[in-house]
Amino acid sequence: MSEGKEKKDIRDVITSGPPVAGLISPSRENLIEPKTKEKEEKFDYERCTHCGYCRHVCKVYNTSWCETDYAGGRNRIIKALDRKDIKFDKEEIIPSIYRCMLCGNCKVVCPVGINTLEVFQNLRKAVVKKGAMPEKLSILRDSILCNNNPYMEQHVDRFNWCEENEYGKEAYERAKKELAAIDEAIAAGDLEARKPKPHKVGYFIGCTSSYRNKELVNATSDVLGKLGIEFVLFPEERCCGSVLFRTGLEDEAMDLVKQNYKMIRESGVSEVVFSCSGCFSTFTLEYTKFAGGKLGFDLYHLTQYVLKTVKEKNLKIRYPKRTKDDPLLITYHDPCHLGRYCGVYEEPRELINMIEGVKLFEMKHNRDMSWCCGAGGGVKALYGDVAGEIGRDRIAETRTCMVIIREDRLKEALETNAEVLVSSCVFCKNNLFQVANEDNSPIKVMDISQLLNECEFYK
């Protein structure tokens, strides 16, 4: 490659359309609502015109080049099955259905407004009902149903991390006392009259932070504690059901939804904080739908809650290891579950920009056009550890896709010359951390809770 002239930033060119159009999501403000909305969104595939614009943003397709791997191609399969042009084959269909990160970028760019996430989750549900399921999915399902987590860990070990975290331990004890009070109040027949009064803030941890990434739960507890927030944990917390919803096991997930929802309502908290974007999006979408649109408590991702608190308390944030003149260079990776699923793009950025001693640089693909890290949609859970199988089968091919996708994202982060890639999702952090580690990359990968935990909050 000839490297001649100095590189120009595409955004310096004054144009709202081509050539930068591909980096910006299409404008929707003045477009009419699709006329064919008489059916539920899960039937949206019928409206697909197969224009293929979802193809460009599909990281899986751009790795596998397989026609069934992007939304338009998959919609064509659903239509063909509907019309009985093609027979259902439970072995052959699996890769077409499950090799999708459910990142939702196709939904963002779809000119006819198809809710691809709804369509594909529903497709997975239909396919599972017909008996087609990746082998590992049944193991995951059984673990969640037996142990309340997908990692085959004992449920009683969920809060082991509290032993080593002061704020966590206090929060757990407060919650235990509350549970006892709730039991007493229920026995007395008046839940409202219970003492002590319920706490305002609850922290829903999620399975991955509880069992695998304890550094996140520790960092989050410390940040909340340092901000003076007296929060409680939920000792009866179970898996939120995200993995089950995404992989077509919605019916199995509903029991978890009911139990977790009841648990939070009974606890009396009015604000629930999440450090896991997956849990946050599941509560925002599926739990809210279950509760008929009104949960009875507010949901906050950690970034939103810290921002809100800092503003309310009029606090400043400082990264003490660096100065304003020599800031830590950061790039922010939008998790699909926080961004495209819940529309939280600006709060994490606003928070990072508030930190003295830190400077934020955007990657080329950001916000609703951000690239997926490659771990979503159950792909990492289902195919992530098929090491050594590369070159043999389509499962291995799927894993290869995932590896390439995360490498691409890391490359884009490196192009910003940032020292640290920050995300706000445990799965993104893990996946990108893994590739950075394998590649001996100069860029450090961390969760935003870890960054905030290294900061000082002051008046």
């Binding site: 000839s2 595409i10 050539p19 299409p26 052959e92």
Partner: protein, 523 residues
Amino acid sequence: MGDTKGFRNNCKKVILNMNETIDKEIRNENLNLASKEVKRKVSKKNFAEAIKEFISPYHVSTNKYELESASADLTSLPSYHYKFKKNYLASIIVRPADTESLSLLMKKCWELSFPMTIRAAGTSCFSSATPSKGGVIIDMRRINKIINIDPERMTVRVGAGISWLNLIERLSDYGLAPKAYPTSFKTSCVGGFIATPGKAGIGVPKYGTMIDSILSLILVRPDGKIENITKDSKGEISLEDIAGTYGIYGVISEVELSLTSLQTSLEIVGYGFSSLEKAINYYKALMREVPNKPFFLSISERSFEKYSHVNFPEQDWLVWAVYYDNPDNASRSVSEAERLASNLNGVSVDRSYLKEKWRDISDAEVAIGRTSRNLIFQEYWISNDRLLLFYEYYLRRSSKYKFPIATYTISGQQGWSRVKVFGLSDIARTAEFFTVKAFLHDLSKQTFKQGDSLYTIGIVNTFYLLKYRSEFVNQRKELKNKLDPKDLLNSYRIVKARMKYWRISLLFTLAKFLYKIFNLRFK
């Protein structure tokens, strides 16, 4: 032991004899139907294994879902439409990674007389990239490398399977941009725009057509031979033969393009007109009289804006132009465009509306699909001198139907335009669907009668060429017979049609008749 060894040797002999027999059968061109079946089965099996020697097994697929998906294109028609074509479904998909493996693959297909269909994004419609005889789909998307960017010479050499958007994004890092690209640039590929007409799109009014940007290309001929073709090539095949001939002479594997630099000013002007004549006069004047040619120029009917937008200009016709230039040139062009518009009583359109149209230029024509489940359309290639004649006919015909109809035009090479007409129906309503097709057929007939042509031909529109452009077809046929006598590569495009003109005409006449009867009855 001895007996076992003898038995094994006998088996080997039998198998060798069988293979020899099969090979002989394969080579025999006068096979009967039964041996054809044998050939197909054996060849397919051997073929898949043989090509895995030079193409990764990941990229040789017989997954039936993938075959179904890759054998269709953007014009999502019901299965009975596809079955109209001979063997629309491929039996194998292969994704070569470079010119060499592409060449080996094509040599193997040639050897076994396997039909080949070239595909990349499949966005040009009209079955341009779908099989017509089954066989192999050669998916070009992996041949997508940027081989060289030369900022000094302002050129780029790329694999033909690269998407325009990937190329645009990469070139922008160097302050460079392609001169001409299609409005479907978000997904379509470089090779496809050359093989399909490539005569109208973004940048074309200013910089010329796709062929004007090509410095050289590598073509893999149907027999697998690799050939480098430049503007000055004096060989059997010229650049002109390749552009717009739907890959019937070979597969474009690599392309060297001349580029332009990214500009610093972008201005959009747009005016609404109540009179079609004035709108067309303005459209023509923008190409003819404004000192700097627009980067993009379009004229659209009010219904086209209405079917996709909440708020839209009130006038019947919208003419809008994009000037992408240095600030001086852009502002000079805008002043001149404004002056011309005021002479023709054009009503200025809100800039924010135009900005949004430009931002969503790729999505605009698809966005009208929000009103229906399918986009049914035809593309006409009309001389600007006859644009008014065509549109008058269009207005007369469209007034006879109740289903929503919309049209817009984009400027192509000097003096020509691509007119796209949509009939927004639902393929589930078969009678209406065929009437829409009949309406578009009437416009096609008018197009040829007034001396113009269709823009995209593909498989679906080839019978029009045979009917109205026999001289052109015969010229093309001569070269095709020379390079691909067995018609293995991208069959039934340009020189040979699957459908008969009279049959289609009869079908559409019937459709119109039924539509009329039912409409009267419903009234």
